[in-house]
Symmetry: C2
DNA sequence: TGACTATTCAAGCATCCCGTTGAATACTTG
DNA sequence: CAAGTATTCAACGGGATGCTTGAATAGTCA
């Protein structure tokens, strides 16, 4: 079983490519990548949001880091992880897109979930986007406020889902509301719309998150950064 | 450890995404995908070209197929595998591109290999591409002829590496020659250039393969298809 | 029909990988 | 310096994965 230099070269090259493949071969890591696409975060926050233990999150993050998909920087007592660059975000987006078009199960699972919740998917996406871009509706960003600060759709109001109930008064009562969150597989906007409708608002969910918005080449707004060391 | 419906939904979605990740997490499968990017092929041909056993190739192909990245169709006694659609090709391309920019090892390994072979990487890529597009040089496609038929760079001559020595007479002696093969990590063009230079030709290697060519939005030429059942 | 071929299947083995647990490390704050 | 917190490390068990081998299947061709 002696291998030629050519063979060894190829083995090494594809082994390198496979490092990236391995990094995105575990569901948990994909969820972490998706979360990091919304902005940098500490290990603890990621663990909490992905519903896994801190040690487990730490391990996954180290694997992602070994594949150079994310970077860690020490911020005092915390370690802040972030996507290594936007190419990583685009890659994740491509993977997701491929899954959506090629794996029928993705649509099945989504449909089943929406049905179970009794949430209807009204209004065709592009039509909704048009109205959002045109400023014809009140746009609500229901993610945690750090994520809003890291980047949001221009003109959107930051009202985290957890605060929505208390802050309903801030919304103009007779204007249509469109809520969005992290993307098509994040459920916060669904919750928000449900709540808004119960309160008599005309509300819709926008599937697109900030990453999808950016992927269309549209402008994303950032809040003034807090001071960083 | 009861999980909410939201959690279960997310688990299922990311599990789907991970199906694609798992499919591209093994070096061998990436090599097979790369090969299939050059055109459809039988199991045996793939096994041979990837340097693995037929049974092993078959298994990998079935995993790729389960992830819907490739499709199989029975052609008489053979089974012909092909990429499921061009989005798959683009995805592979994105993965490779990410590996190239983020994993320094890719360049290291390549450089080491070229050095070992004593092959120099002359002529800057874009300059070479310009001359190829302008028809200023003789362009040689040194891949097996089926791959040439499945798609090649306009104006290229099909001279498989294995036949090159015999067919040197076909080449105009005092015109520069540019050889290409499957892409930057395929070594056939390197061999070709080595041989051509020994024979006194002014020859260069073009790194780009047909997929890279197409990715730039440039036209790819196809030979008239043989009859298919 | 029978010989032959290409592909797939099934079983087995060594290895790797995920998630858990409990302890160790590194930094901040009083 | 001591107490507290965030993160990482180390070890382990169950399960998946990759490759090999040998047999089974499904098609072709004389």
């Amino acid at each position: 079983m002696t291998s030629t230099p050519n063979r060894r070269f190829k083995d090494r090259i594809y082994e390198q490519f496979a490092r990236l493949g391995k990094a995105v071969s575990a569901p948990r890591r994909l969820e972490l990548l998706d979360l990091l696409g919304q902005g940098p975060r500490t290990v603890e926050a990621l663990a909490e949001q992905a519903g896994i233990s801190v040690a487990n999150a730490s391990q996954h993050l180290q694997i992602l880091r070994a594949a150079r998909l994310v970077e860690a920087r020490k911020q005092g007592c915390y370690v802040e992880y972030r996507l290594a660059d936007e190419q990583v975000g685009r890659f994740f987006h491509a993977l997701r897109g491929l899954a959506e078009t090629r794996l029928a199960e993705v649509e099945q699972v989504t449909r089943a979930y929406l049905e179970e919740r009794g949430a209807m998917e009204a209004v065709h996406g592009t039509e909704l986007l048009r109205r959002v871009r045109g400023g014809e509706v009140t746009v609500l960003d229901v993610r945690p406020s750090e994520e809003y600060r890291a980047g949001h759709i221009p003109g959107a109001l930051s009202v985290p889902l957890s605060e929505l109930k208390k802050r309903l008064a801030e919304l103009p009562k007779n204007r249509e509301v469109v809520a969005y969150c992290r993307g098509p597989y994040c459920v916060m906007a669904i919750d928000a719309v449900e709540l808004l409708r119960k309160q008599g608002f005309k509300a819709h969910r926008m599937e697109q998150g900030v990453a999808d918005w950016r992927a269309r080449g549209w402008r994303v707004e950032t809040s003034a950064e807090e001071v960083r060391s």
